[in-house]
Symmetry: C2
Subunit: 199 residues, 2 copies
């Protein structure tokens, strides 16, 4: 690395991005030096995102609308179904399945005692306020990751939401479509057997 | 991807960086949204690089000094040896070998007819001016990549520089130290045999 303070600081900043190691950060920094246009474009995009993108006041997804996001503002969606996801990007995944036309709520993470993330660090208080307000929601669908943190969060939310008389469901785990049972891991196959569906 | 204009533009800009595909660009953009501190740090670093880093007036490497870079300004280095490299980052590689204490000249690329890059697109005119000025340089070492573009540039520079009465050399190609001859490719071994050194 050339010993130039500003260049080293740029490498350090790029290195903070997820999945960008020190070598990649150096390559990116040199490319940015080579193409000033790249630097301008990136700077303008970073400023635009900071100025225009914020959290939706209702579901806490990202939006550039003044208050509510496109999904919260859409009058054709069902108000009685609420899908809980960990991250705003999960909404795009659920949407593209085409199997859900209700509302969303983004937790911004999952409960993880190991990382010191408890219910108060997530948008759970906001979820409870939202559910209590006009009491339109009847079913809450938990679309959380089927990992340790997701499972912990599901247990917690199921208890809290059931106590409020809501129907709480979780998206099914099992054998992915188009896959080969031979290659599916034991725990997934175990879950698929447990959650078998009557025909 | 959430359909938010500013976010999509940020993904597009990140995607322009070398080795960053659309999926990685999305992951980076979401992380930047999640950590505003990351956005600020990156913005500041980009501005600082743009404001303070420019080309050295003598060797055309990058520097944040007002005129000449640390290597050109260093009085303890030999003025009669000039090492030609393709990119500023190559200087760091040559330096860390510890085998060179002369001056550098950066071409900013190599001749590549396929990419429409000819001698006029590189810092070759500046190289010739630099050599002619006080005529201190006696040997020019070409440390260019041993690929098609590097080879083409070496042929061109060897002709032009020899015509000016300079000794022109190229760094040796051959079997890397610590490697196993069994695993060295044919062309490298061929070159190693051709360039064998008398003991």
């Amino acid at each position: 690395m050339l010993r130039i303070g500003a260049l080293e600081r740029l490498v350090h900043q790029l290195n903070r991005l997820p999945g960008i190691g020190p070598k990649t950060a150096q390559r990116l920094a040199y490319q940015i030096l080579r193409e000033p246009d790249l630097s301008t474009g990136l700077q303008e995009a970073l400023i635009a995102v900071r100025e225009s993108v914020h959290l939706c006041t209702q579901c806490f997804s990202y939006t550039d609308e003044p208050a509510m996001c496109r999904y919260c503002a859409d009058h054709s969606r069902r108000d009685d179904l609420l899908c809980i996801v960990e991250e705003p990007s999960d909404i795009v995944r659920v949407e593209s399945s085409g199997a859900f036309r209700g509302r969303y709520h983004v937790l911004h993470g999952a409960i993880s005692p190991l990382d010191n993330i408890g219910p108060d660090d997530l948008k759970i208080r906001e979820l409870l306020e939202r559910i209590e307000a006009p009491a339109k929601v009847t079913e809450v669908i938990l679309a959380l990751d089927p990992d340790l943190e997701g499972d912990t969060t599901v247990l917690y939310l199921a208890k809290v939401l059931s106590a409020r008389g809501l129907k709480v469901t979780r998206i099914a785990s099992g054998v992915p479509l188009g896959s080969d049972i031979d290659y599916v891991d034991d725990r997934t196959l175990g879950r698929a057997l447990e959650n078998r569906v009557e025909l």
